[in-house]
Symmetry: C2
Subunit: 101 residues, 2 copies
C-alpha cells in the first residue's frame, strides 16, 4: 500500500465525500476562521467537525493555530497546499451552477 502522501487525490476525494468538508475548504479560501464560525457554516455536531478538521490537518490542507489569549482562541487556516485547491473548488462550483441552470 502506498503512503498517504503518494495518493493525495484519493484521500482528498474520500474526505470531501463527507458533509461539510467542501464548505470548510471553500470558505477558508477567504481567510482563517474559528471553530465556532466553521460550526455555523457546516452545521456539523462539534465532535464531527473536530474530526473533519483533524483529518484536514493530517492531509496538510489546513493548519490550526492556538493563540495564548484569555479566553483562548483557535484559528483554522489553509496551508499553501490547501490554497492550491482553489482552481479545483471553483471549477466544481461552476459545474454545479451550470447543472442547476
Amino acid at each position: 500500500m502506498l503512503k498517504p502522501a503518494e495518493r493525495p487525490l484519493e484521500q482528498l476525494l474520500e474526505l470531501m465525500g463527507h458533509k461539510g468538508v467542501f464548505a470548510i475548504l471553500h470558505s477558508l479560501q477567504s481567510g482563517p476562521l474559528r471553530f465556532g464560525a466553521l460550526q455555523q457554516l457546516t452545521d456539523l455536531p462539534p465532535r464531527t467537525l473536530s474530526l473533519r478538521l483533524k483529518e484536514l490537518e493530517e492531509l496538510r490542507l489546513i493548519s490550526r493555530t492556538e493563540y495564548n489569549e484569555v479566553p483562548p482562541r483557535v484559528d483554522y487556516a489553509l496551508t499553501e497546499r490547501g490554497q492550491s485547491l482553489r482552481p479545483a473548488l471553483e471549477a466544481l462550483v461552476a459545474w454545479e451552477e451550470k447543472s442547476l441552470r
Copy 2:
C-alpha cells in the same frame, strides 16, 4: 429536504468519495467504455462497480446503452452533464500533480 437535482455538488462529492468513481468519470471523458474495461480500470468487484454505475446514472452523469448484438454489448458513456465535469476533473488532477512535486 431538497430534491437530489437541487444539490448536485453534494451528491457528486459523496459519490466521488467512493473508490473508483473519479477514475470512471475521468476515463469516460475519452469516450464510451464497456463494463469489462471499467472493471479493469477501477479494480472494483463487479457488484460494487454495478452499484457505482447505477448511482452515476441516477445523477445523470453517465448513460447506459444496450446493443442488440450477439453476444450482447453494453456501453457506458458520459452525458452532456458528465462531460461538463471535465474542467473540474482536470483541476483536481493538476492539484494532485502539484502536490506530489
